[in-house]
């Protein structure tokens, strides 16, 4: 799935909640092999812009497209985007492995998931229910779920939250290894994560 070139374009994006304008006039274009970080203070609209780019929310004004040869219908976007954020939670009643099995779409997902769990240090906790995971372990699982199906687009909102140094290093090395073959968009206030990306949009 991740070999065909993709491009996300946004023109004049704006978002209002009531009379409060969160942001306006944002235009961008990110293609396969490029990465973008979105930074800004709390409440500046980073997560909202990420949701708009992922097709989860509609902008108040402006146009957004996901193109791979042709424009892709919005309902199909999430099958091509690996998205994680503070509001994307795995099922607490299921084990880490059951969550992964649930999210798997690829034929070789089991083998790939096993490798990812090992890389992110969760292989010894795969049969534990998620409700017994620590915050850092949950965050690692969320990252595995986002990259599990090898999506051509990765959108990571506050991906480094709750990660220890080893977890953050694993994340950074993973992003470094796939940056040439994917679109990577990160919402972050971590300067190290910002440096991983070629370009930065600052909100607020």
């Amino acid at each position: 799935m991740s070999t065909a070139p993709y491009c996300i374009t946004g023109e004049g994006l704006a978002k209002k909640f009531g009379r409060n304008t969160l942001f306006k006039g944002i235009s961008l274009s990110v293609a396969t092999g490029e990465s973008l970080s979105i930074t800004g203070p709390n409440g500046s609209g980073k997560s909202t812009l990420m949701k708009i780019l992922a097709g989860i929310q509609q902008p108040t004004a402006g146009k957004i497209n996901l193109i791979s040869g042709v424009s892709i219908e919005r309902v199909q976007w999430l099958s091509r985007i690996g998205y994680t954020g503070p509001l994307v939670n795995p099922y607490d009643e299921l084990t880490g492995w059951e969550n992964i099995t649930f999210a798997s779409r690829l034929a070789d997902a089991g083998e790939r998931a096993g490798r990812l769990m090992e890389a992110f240090g969760l292989d010894l906790h795969r049969d534990k229910k998620v409700k017994y995971y620590s915050s850092g372990m949950k965050q690692r699982l969320k990252l595995i779920l986002a990259v599990l199906n090898d999506p051509p687009v990765l959108m990571l909102d506050e991906a480094g939250t709750n990660l220890d140094a080893a977890g953050a290093a694993t994340l950074h090395s993973y992003l470094e290894s796939v940056r040439k073959e994917k679109i990577i968009i990160i919402a972050t206030n971590d300067p190290q994560e910002e440096q991983l990306c070629g370009r930065t949009i600052t909100l607020g």
Partner: protein, 219 residues
């Protein structure tokens, strides 16, 4: 789509089996109300019409306690967005629809025998009675699946679900009561009411399937 439906169904049954929240609440409500009615009635026999009305009131409120849970749980526990990223929109609807039908079948399997036993109801036409209860249950579960999604999106809880479901389910309850009452004592009940319930289920299921993406995908 079939694979997505199966994955989501398996996940929903697993989560419900481990928490048993909706099933416990609905089954407890059904048992308590049925026993309370039989005790307060004190052995006074109800007419077949009243028996049918009370049966459907118990079924309706037992179901309302649990049918919305399938979507409300996703929003409450913050898993709705994960579900959106993992399963396509049509498969979400189909799997939740099937889950609600299965849930309703369990509710009917708990409520109906309890009710017949504790209120000592005599059924004249057993097959017609079974079909009436089953068709009414299918209609309730069919109509409430998309309503549950709407209530969950609105951040609503059980009471809102019951209130917005009532006007849509009113014809279902009315016809189900008629059909059940006929099964209890009519000389030869006809299948017109059953046909209405099945047609209603089919119609509301198709409309819900077509509209579901607008409920599910818009924030």
């Amino acid at each position: 789509m079939g694979n997505d439906v199966l994955r989501n169904l398996r996940k929903d049954f697993l989560v419900e089996f481990r928490s048993r929240f909706a099933l416990n609440v609905s089954a407890s409500f059904a048992a308590i109300v049925t026993i309370a009615i039989s005790l307060t009635a004190g052995g006074v026999p109800f007419s077949p019409k009243v028996q049918a009305i009370v049966l459907w009131i118990v079924i309706f409120f037992s179901a309302m306690n649990g049918l919305s849970h399938i979507f409300v749980r996703e929003e409450d526990q913050g898993t709705a967005l994960f579900l959106r990223t993992a399963v396509n929109v049509d498969s979400v609807f189909v799997s939740k629809f099937i889950f609600n039908q299965a849930f309703m079948a369990v509710i009917l399997a708990v409520v109906t025998p309890l009710y017949l036993f504790f209120l000592q109801v005599q059924v004249l036409h057993v097959a017609h009675f079974i079909f009436s209860v089953a068709a009414g249950g299918v209609s309730i579960a069919a109509a409430t699946t998309i309503l549950a999604a709407m209530v969950a999106k609105a951040g609503g809880k059980g009471s809102l679900f019951t209130i917005i479901s009532f006007p849509i389910l009113l014809p279902v309850l009315w016809i189900s009561i008629s059909s059940t009452s006929a099964a209890l004592n009519a000389p030869s009940p006809t299948g017109g009411n059953l046909l209405f319930l099945l047609a209603f289920s089919g119609f509301i299921s198709v409309i819900s399937f077509l509209l579901f993406r607008f409920v599910w995908l818009e924030d």
